[in-house]
Symmetry: C2
Subunit: 350 residues, 2 copies
């Protein structure tokens, strides 16, 4: 029964345009509250169902975007991708897309899942997260000309690693954190990051190192770069012990950390450390845990990043040639990408 009711029937019965009916379903925030309620009542009364199946048959589009969701971890760093997911689902809805979730234990399992999804729900595009060196997912998708965008830049410079991406400039975030501490009079600024080899971690460390080195002659600090650096696995406990070690051996007056988890641990070490003035600590990601702990932290514009991903995908889907594999046409044109600047959220800790 419901399948016979068209958007035109709804528009006529509600006394509004077809666009208003469409906006009510897909972009409710652009429709006046009163109108929106009225249209929804008519939709419910007539039993209208947007005939996506028929539309899909006609256009060959599923209007689905697939993205992986990971197990929780410590719930601190993971909240970044959760906030990204909220933004993605909302902006995708404005463009008429829904978000399909999947899990995968590693890259190879994720590729098997692409196969599975392509054979079943036929998503129009994928959003990749947690890009890393030698990422076999991106080359697999590129080879097949499948539309995708990565939240995270390609960390390899090989030609087949060129793909559309959106990322936040981590190095500029740790640079801003380091400059903030220099401006407050700190001269011995330590860094607690992750072991070398992760693109994201190396990038965040680089922002601290370059700022510190550039100002080396002025601060007398550049020579101490290695002494002031600790590289550990992510986590509150590892952050705390790295901070204790740094405070004992290198006497920093401030610490920049690659994540809020590390910074929360560093904050505990700082609080139990006896010195003339409290050791300043800055984290990365501006998570709810940072709010709770009064931690100054680098803030990623996640809603903007999600919107930029949807925008790149929508453009790629309108112009499929932009997504063609490098092999098909010789050297690839420069792929679309967006690098967003983070900001510093200043609280009590620094």
């Amino acid at each position: 029964m419901a399948d016979k009711v068209t958007i035109t029937d709804v528009a006529r019965a509600a006394g509004v345009s077809r666009q208003t009916v469409s906006n009510t379903l897909n972009s409710p925030e652009v429709v006046r509250e009163e109108t929106r309620r009225h249209v929804l009542e008519v939709i419910e009364r007539l039993g209208y169902r947007a005939n996506q199946a028929a539309r899909q048959m006609r256009t060959g589009r599923s209007r689905l975007i697939a993205i992986r969701i990971d197990p929780g971890g410590d719930g601190i760093s993971g909240s970044v991708l959760d906030r990204f997911l909220h933004g993605l689902t909302e902006t995708a809805a404005h463009e008429g897309y829904r978000v399909l979730l999947y899990t995968a234990a590693d890259d190879r399992a994720e590729i098997a899942t692409y196969e599975d999804l392509l054979g079943s729900y036929k998503p129009d595009a994928f959003v990749l997260t947690a890009t890393h060196h030698d990422d076999i997912r991106t080359s697999w998708l590129l080879e097949r000309g499948l539309p995708f965008v990565a939240f995270g830049r390609p960390w390899s410079h090989l030609p087949d690693a060129r793909h559309p991406w959106v990322d936040v400039d981590g190095a500029s975030g740790t640079e801003a954190a380091t400059r903030h501490l220099l401006a407050a009079g700190h001269r011995r600024i330590g860094f607690i990051g992750w072991p070398s080899g992760s693109g994201v971690g190396d990038d965040r460390r680089a922002g601290w190192a370059r700022t510190f080195t550039a100002l080396g002659s002025e601060t007398g600090g550049a020579g101490d770069l290695d002494a002031l650096l600790r590289s550990v696995e992510d986590g509150i406990e590892s952050g705390e012990s790295a901070a204790r070690d740094l405070l004992r051996t290198a006497a920093p007056t401030a610490l920049v950390c690659a994540s809020d988890s590390l910074a929360l641990g560093a904050l505990q070490a700082a609080r139990s450390h006896e010195g003339e003035r409290p050791v300043a600590v800055i984290g990365f990601d501006d998570t709810p845990a940072a709010t709770a702990a009064g931690l100054t932290s680098v803030h990623q514009p996640l809603a903007e990043a999600a919107a930029a991903c949807v925008d790149l995908l929508a453009r790629a889907l309108e112009n499929p040639d932009a997504m063609r594999s490098p092999d098909a046409e010789g050297s690839p044109s420069e792929q679309a990408h967006v690098l967003l600047p983070p900001s510093l959220t200043i609280r009590q800790s620094a």
Copy 2:
């Protein structure tokens, strides 16, 4: 090309059973790492795609579960549903289901979205969150015999509010928190909750009130129930000002709060309060922010709740009669439900 490869082909080429191939895709944790990698390599080499589309044609099932995702809020309380979503996606995958996300501004818009989804992606079932009094979503779904489970019990006792649900026993959580404080010697225990009328909020307040009242003669506290209660909108700032007000007017030595957001505010008020001993504070939800702030908090078993939802849905989908509308067959049988006990995560704050 890929559509011609069957699961039997993969099993034969990999030298494993069909079940192992299926497990590799759907329940990788039950397959030995070495076997899993081998099967995934064969899947990739043969270009196998689980032919979900064909299976759907045959079974009439989409194997999609739809759930709403909300804008972030303060990122503290919202993290509860994020963790639930992670658990849901993982356990759904083990049962061969994927999760489809949507957004909706209110109940009416959510119902319009059900129409839209049913006309397009045909989800097999819905998972509802944030159930409340006069929830028009549940009656709408029940009338149409559409399979769903709510994470959150029906807060109305009307017959049409009977539906399958999974929930965490909030009252027993605040009771455990109050008993923990009584055992530590506290006799004046305040409660900061939400305004009356929200089922979840009323339930959490009831656990404190009943424990306090039952022990009233012993503690001399029952008469003070109203004096020790504050009802405010959720948030860190409102929690802080409610706590300041309570500390000034009712002199509690401990505070139980309906959320971690309220408790984080109360913790700030408690820290700046001068007294013989620090005011104890307990929150609700055991969010990452509670970890960061050293806040004792009531912990919800979210992965178990998600698994219970998938289990109820899987059973309902196997036996559709269990989901039939009350009108169709007279009075409805008691619907399946699961009420999970929370636990108390003890940290420095109480």
